[in-house]
Subunit: 194 residues, 2 copies
Amino acid sequence: MARAGVTPQRLTEAGAELADEVGFDQVTVSELARRFGVKVASLYSHVRSSHDLKTRIALLALEEMADRVSDALAGRSGKEALAAFADAYRAYARAHPGRYAAARYRLDPDTAAASAGVRHARMMRAVLRGYHLAEPDRTHAVRMLGGIFHGYVELELSGGFAHTPVDPEESWNWIVDSLDAQLRAHRASPASEE
Amino acid sequence: MARAGVTPQRLTEAGAELADEVGFDQVTVSELARRFGVKVASLYSHVRSSHDLKTRIALLALEEMADRVSDALAGRSGKEALAAFADAYRAYARAHPGRYAAARYRLDPDTAAASAGVRHARMMRAVLRGYHLAEPDRTHAVRMLGGIFHGYVELELSGGFAHTPVDPEESWNWIVDSLDAQLRAHRASPASEE
DNA sequence: GCAGCAACCTAAAGGCTTTAGGTAGCGGCG
DNA sequence: CGCCGCTACCTAAAGCCTTTAGGTTGCTGC
């Protein structure tokens, strides 16, 4: 019988695809085996466990998202950079809800430290450089932006905004504008530059 | 043999307890049966399905959270109300992570419409009354606050702030302060009151 | 005191994960 | 060219979860 040519990479790719189709928590080794026309047990030669598979998908998603954000950020600073980050983030989540959910899969500390998650953090801080915040304000701001980007996108994705007839796009832009204003207002009070 | 005295209410309560102990997505009809010293199939007389059980837990959590927020809001307005809402919300999530996750379980539209979720929305809008925002700013603000409260709490709960040595409490207060300032800045530009 | 309604049970099917151990393509070496 | 061995893929089986069907039995009220 012909071999299916399964590899961890192809599995991860297909898993990400599947996540976008049916939701990340419906991603299952069994379903993947089905799609590859292969018996379930066979996949365990390529992937250690279901958790391992999900971790790989998460890492892929983090990587992809970081790439998008990185591209969006290129050559921009200040409010432009903030908006570019925000929009890239949200766009990715909307285009790839399953992968986005995967990116929020809990990784163990070592894996997380080696993931593209650190690029996200670095980029966020880079965006904030344009606002000249002193510590600990900068950390507060990172957390605020991380929280709202994630929270807004998740609420939007889960249909939480369906009740109200206001374009989520419009709200998003309003929020980004507000955040920009708010951050500018926080500009390091004394002349304490970084 | 003595009867265990299972009721939908007790199941829901125990399910919420279990969620806080092991995480909402580890809540299982089987485990609950074990805890009640009863065979799994027996629970299906009290609960329609696993999904039904989870829905009940979600409704309970929404109710409890709305109660806490409602208590916190009593007699407050303006920034005080904003902070009370925020703190009550975050405190509930920290005290009951499993229930908090349950509260985010996706409900079908009818169930959602009959849930305490609408109280949440009403209270949020009530808080914003203190800032005299005109539509659609008010909706934008609701979404911003909803997003950030949820997003921040989720990031904090998932350990996302562990890397940085800044007290999450401090960041939270900073964020609430910022949001307050930001909302005050948005005060209905013309004299267009509600 | 017993009739009947729940509450609880056994049985069974079907899905997912994971491990153990067998079979057979296929690339490379003699 | 052939056959050797690696490894991709397979069968089998155990364990856990959900859900349905249909049988007992405890309790409550007449």
